[in-house]
């Protein structure tokens, strides 16, 4: 694997290989010696054009656990503010010897351009591009689901029914999971109000939950991506589509995921977030392991192509 740009590009075998490797690393992360020499001498740059403290520190810690040198480049206060374009920034980082760029950008396709336009020979890991893809998020969701369902390493999510709920249109998390989870054998349905999830068959979450999903993934309502409000009010959204206490009680065995940061009381209630079926904290933990697995696969010498 040369780059990780999109879950569309992952076949089942590679996806399971990443999950297995992450699963192993996640157990090792519990040990006291938590540092591995895998990427010694490699330089990894986190190139973030959008603020995302959670994702950035997760990647940074993953690279450090693997002994890479890590440089954090954020668009605020850098040459970008002085008008430097993406191509020039990439070439500058290449000249400094970056082996991998972990890229977060507001433009869909920015990572694809960096990987394929000849601007840099560094490996590219997409850490979120516009409304397009956030592949490590989907991988960590898949790992959390596999653990939550007590499925062994080496296997997928075959036969599991997963509901993705909310702002599908603006969500790279939804898009990444809609590509990855079916590759792993799961049945996935995206639901939400029509202005978020065009073509949705259900009028509200209650109807959608009647399909008896094995897990629900609640998406964050991303107000910052809407040119104009696509829902009448927070209150109405929560009434129709929020994962309230009553709804959680209707599906007692259903696992609950949320990519964070959560809008408590809007798309997810505190009851749901903190229930026994919630995987929210294991998602964060698995994020670190998945990112370590991806970085070692890309920079650690294995040369599979996908």
């Amino acid at each position: 694997m040369r780059h990780l740009l999109s879950t569309d590009e992952l076949n089942r075998e590679t996806a399971i290989e990443i999950l297995d490797s992450a699963s192993q690393l996640s157990r090792l992360n519990e040990d006291t010696t938590r540092k591995f020499p895998t990427l010694q001498g490699k330089t990894v740059v986190t190139l973030f054009y959008e603020d995302s403290t959670r994702t950035r520190i997760s990647f940074e810690l993953a690279a450090k656990r693997l002994s890479a040198d890590v440089i954090n480049f954020s668009a605020g206060g850098s040459a970008v503010n002085k008008g430097e374009n993406l191509k020039d920034t990439a070439q500058t980082l290449e000249a400094l010897g970056a082996d991998a760029l972990i890229v977060r950008h507001s433009a869909s396709g920015a990572s694809y351009n960096l990987a394929h336009n000849g601007w840099t020979s560094a490996a590219i890991v997409n850490a979120g591009d516009g409304t397009n893809q956030h592949p490590t998020q989907a991988l960590l969701d898949a790992l959390s689901l596999r653990q939550g369902f007590n499925i062994d390493d080496g296997k997928g999510l075959d036969g599991k029914k997963i509901l993705i709920v909310g702002d599908i249109l603006h969500s790279r998390v939804a898009r990444s999971n809609l590509a990855l989870l079916p590759t792993l054998g799961a049945e996935v349905e995206a639901v939400g109000p029509g202005s978020f999830s065009p073509g949705c068959k259900y009028a509200n979450l209650d109807e959608a939950l009647e399909t008896k999903p094995d897990a629900v993934m609640m998406l964050r309502v991303q107000k910052e991506r809407m040119n104009q409000p696509l829902i009448p009010s927070d209150k109405e959204y929560s009434r129709f589509w929020g994962l309230t206490e009553q709804r959680v009680k209707k599906v007692p065995n259903c696992l609950i995921l949320h990519p964070g940061p959560m809008n408590r009381g809007l798309e997810i209630s505190t009851y749901a977030a903190e229930s026994n079926n919630s995987l929210v904290l294991s998602q964060v933990k698995n994020g670190l392991a998945v990112r370590m697995a991806v970085l070692s696969m890309i920079l650690g010498g294995k040369n599979e192509t996908i």
Binding site: N85, K87, S108, G109, A110, G130, T131, Q133, R172, N227
Partner: protein
Amino acid sequence: MRLSSCTLANGEIRDLVIENQIIVGIEPASKNGDLDCSSLRVLPGFVDLHTHLREPGFEQSETVLTGSQAAASGGYTALFAMANTQPVADNAGTVTQVAELGEAAGLVEVRPIGAITKGLEGKQLSAMGSMFNSKAQVRIFSDDGHCVSDAALMKTAMEYLQPLGGVIAQHAQEPTLTLGSQVNEGEISRITGLKGWPSSAEESIILRDALLSEQTGCRLHVCHVTSKLGVELIRWAKQRGFPVTAEVTPHHLVLTELEAKNYDTRFKVNPPLRTQQDTEALVEGLVDGTIDVIGTDHAPHASDAKQQQWDAAAFGMTGLEQAYQVAHKVLVHSGLSDWERLAEAMSSAPALIGGVSNHGRIEVGQEANLAFIDPTKSLRVEGNVYSKSANNPYTGMEFASSVVHTMFRGGFSYKDGEVKK
């Protein structure tokens, strides 16, 4: 000068005799002319109603000279230069400057298009009357690149222009439906995560403007139609007798939204590439005359403006150098239509709409503006030869036929693959 054994659009083989810029004779075919045209189709020189020459203001992308060279190499003898320059062509001085630069280049007739509104801002009418009466004789008015979205302002512009006899060329795009839009709304926006651009944004304005043209009597030219429903609306308006004409670009005839799947910014264009079904409807509309003309929307951009992430890259692609080849592919090579329709869509219809009566016809007494086609000279496109910009969407494609010479006002502006120095 005698051009011997020219095959004309209707298949007749004739000698053309040219003197002092004028066609003085159309005579029985012979073999002893100054130029043997026995293997060539000779068509009236092409007329483009939709070119961005970028001068003044954006000379890093194109100039009147380089755009004229690209046009001559593509068989064009007249082109209409869009108003979105800097300064904007919204006054008699700027349009006259552009026309004079065209005369100085001397390769095609350059006819400026005037802005409908001052500064293309969509707020206040520009000095349309002064531009109409200027030396540049502006006949087409457009805010191209921007839609005149205010319905009342569009109605006023049409009412004002109607008695003068000009044409409003509208870039149909309801702006509230396309904030931040990047690619067609549908399969491609789903694949790429790029913001969708619904075709209803275009169709709603086409319908509105058709109704206004009927009410005001002002001629409306719909720029670059892209969708099946858009074609149907124009067909309906024409059946009702509304004074509406329409244009399609070469790229919307042969390229689809799927070109954008790898974020190759050469395919970022406004309006966006649509679906296969749309391209088929556009070809059908072009064949049956619902769509009157092929207009290039030649939109050169310097490499800096294109070597960007998709959202930041400029909209537009070049077209002057390949428009004929695309027209030949969809009309003649496909077997769907014929040379006469090609000559009409590329030359006589745009000449009529733009009011350049010295173009568009091969007749005794007409100015000698001609395109010479080798129907069997195939060409693999390797990029633009004359345009200053490289954003050519056809690079790598192969076409079955080529322009070999172009005659402008009785002299060769392009001959044997070389533009006149």
